[in-house]
Amino acid sequence: MNWTQLVGAVVVMMGSVILQGCVAPEPRQELFAPTDAQMKIRSAQTRTFEVKEQTVAMRGVIAALQDLGFIIERANEPLGLVTAARFAEPNYYDVLGVTVTVRPQQDGKTMIRANAIYNSKPIEDPKVYQNFFAAVERSLFLVKD
């Protein structure tokens, strides 16, 4: 490599560094401000069931998750918290995680909220939550019988 080539290379490198500096920064997301989309997702993630006891609802959620092939990783009864995960079978590289909170309501019903993530990215597809709550409903109904 001779001197002209070297100088040329340095100029190109400097140029690319400077150019990057000139790119306008992307508009900053308002990370803590609620948006319409978030409200929609929250309603998809939440459902109320005609169950009085929190423990019964929690056990129903756990059984539903097990039926769906999830591994129950953590549970906290006083807080009504269940954390579970499963592999995106047939592939074992992608992991699907879900956190469910079960909270008793004033009117003798129980509110269940689920947050699912796919490889640590939040799932916003309402169909996912519909399927999950269908499984919970089935398992709660089976327990009642």
């Binding site: 056990r59 039926d67 591994i71 990783e73 995106a88 699907l96």
Partner: protein
């Protein structure tokens, strides 16, 4: 890379291809019951005629201990136990395959072999009727395997690549439930 024999390329291609063909499953499908769900449930579940859920849970922990597991998490109120054990994952067959591939590739390819594994279990007990006279125990086993190092021509494959899988061998589940029923002095009922 200049004198890489065609055989090695073909071999590497064959090794890569099946991995590339693994299907992507949509998250919505993963929240649905599949035809295998009920078979898995039957394999992973047994019923016991007992009112004492606490006794059943502690017997489950004892059965897992008998199988060499360490209990990592327990929640009595919802009947949850999580346990794990770490073992060697070395198998004679893999060493043999590695040798033949090394031989066929004229010393260019050394495939990584399984070295170490962590076998984990998640167990839940649950009353099945209002009177709590019948309890269900459901357990699921899975494992993570760590591979050793290898070589593909001049590219070194570092050790530590991880592979995970659900354990679906009915014998493992039968073995566990046999231990559990001995521990609780009860006959297990399958679905």
């Amino acid at each position: 890379m200049q004198r890489l024999p065609a055989a090695v390329l073909l071999l590497m291609g064959l090794l890569v291809l099946p991995q590339g063909c693994v299907q992507q499953t949509q998250p919505a499908e993963l929240f649905q019951l599949t035809p295998e769900s009920s078979a898995n449930r039957a394999m992973q579940t047994r019923f016991f005629d007992t009112e004492n859920d606490q006794e059943l849970l502690s017997a489950s922990a004892a059965a897992l201990q008998d199988l060499g597991f360490q209990v990592e998490e327990s929640v009595r109120e919802v009947g949850l136990l999580r346990a794990a054990k770490e073992r060697s994952a070395r198998e004679y067959g893999q060493y043999r395959n590695r040798f033949f591939i090394w031989l066929l590739s004229l010393g260019h390819v050394v495939i990584p072999i399984d070295l170490h594994q962590k076998i984990a279990a998640s167990l839940v007990t649950r009353p099945l009727n209002e009177a709590h006279s019948r309890q269900e125990v459901r357990i699921v086993f899975y494992r993570a395997v760590w591979k050793g190092d290898g070589q593909a021509d001049r590219n070194y494959i570092p050790p530590g690549e991880q592979k995970m899988e659900m354990i679906r061998d009915p014998e493992i589940y039968q073995q566990f439930f046999a231990k559990l029923s001995k521990a609780v002095f009860l006959e297990p009922h399958s679905i």
